[in-house]
């Protein structure tokens, strides 16, 4: 059987970016914090641009621990949803029309989330990446790390457990 030609690069990129954009921009809380995602192939980096409303301690000043928590949890949920949808996106099975009508795929639900605060979050942009360490039909485990100016000096790390949305067969 002849191998089918791969899709043109623009088509592939457009499909990936549209799926990612729908996941990220459809959630009001992610918009409120101002989180964006940078994509290189299937690797995602979450970006939290600095804003005055993210400050927790105005005297230092430092980013609020709750903002750090929300940022890491968002990175974990989007990273997990992205990894679980990847095969469908690549195969063109992902329903783009549903997306443009504002129907998001069901997102994983957080069961628990444990954060370590390693340094205070400085008043500047922050970045985070998630690693799915276990992804089953029902449960998943994800680790997340966030940093600011220096990649090898994270200011927070987290581990969480998630309940995967039921897949309709």
């Amino acid at each position: 059987m002849p191998r089918s030609r791969p899709d043109p690069v623009q088509v592939v990129k457009q499909r990936r970016d549209a799926a990612l954009s729908a996941l990220v921009h459809g959630v009001p809380y992610i918009q409120f914090l101002g989180i964006e995602f940078d994509r290189r192939g299937d690797e995602l980096t979450a970006i939290l641009p600095y804003d005055d409303k993210l400050i927790g301690n105005p005297m230092i000043p430092a980013i609020h621990g709750g903002v750090t928590a929300g940022f890491l949890e968002t990175t974990a949920v989007i990273g997990l949803a992205w990894a679980s949808l990847w095969d469908d996106i690549e195969a063109g099975r992902f329903d783009m029309e549903e997306l443009t009508r504002g129907h998001l795929p069901r997102l994983p639900k957080t069961i628990d989330f444990t954060l370590d605060y390693l340094r205070s979050g400085l008043p500047r942009d922050a970045y985070a990446r998630a690693r799915v360490t276990r992804s089953g039909r029902r449960y998943a485990s994800v680790q997340v790390e966030a940093w600011q100016d220096q990649r090898d000096q994270p200011f927070a790390q987290a581990a969480g457990h998630f309940l995967m949305p039921a897949r309709d067969e």
């Binding site: 621990g65 928590a69 929300g70 968002t74 444990t114």
Partner: protein, 140 residues
Amino acid sequence: MQGDKSKFAEQFINLIPHCQALGMKLTGIGDGMAEMELPYSEQIVGDPETGVVHGGAVSALMDTCCGAAAMSHPSSPSGTATIDLRIDYMRAATPGQAIRTRAECYHITRSVAFVRATALDDDTEQPVATATGAFTVERK
């Protein structure tokens, strides 16, 4: 004396920009206990189809309330910072309802304050989330 510290903690929390942005309010504080409230708003929704609040906003409420409880303990001289925080999500908060949390600093050493908290909506029988955390005890 205790009253002064509670007043200080209250003023401090009401000045936190992120708490102001979320409309979070301190409703009670003293002797290692704190109570806070997060009103429902569209901007903190995590699931646009159901209107359920995002876990991150609940985390922000829990973190602030646990920190306030640690600061208000009689053996805590001043400020605090979160060392770690674990949040367990029991159920989705009901859309449209405020989330209230109560935190208790149940043990404190010279270096560490141990705190736990519960978050509830109008159904006070079943918690929305619980949290446990360790906080620093700043030296004077």
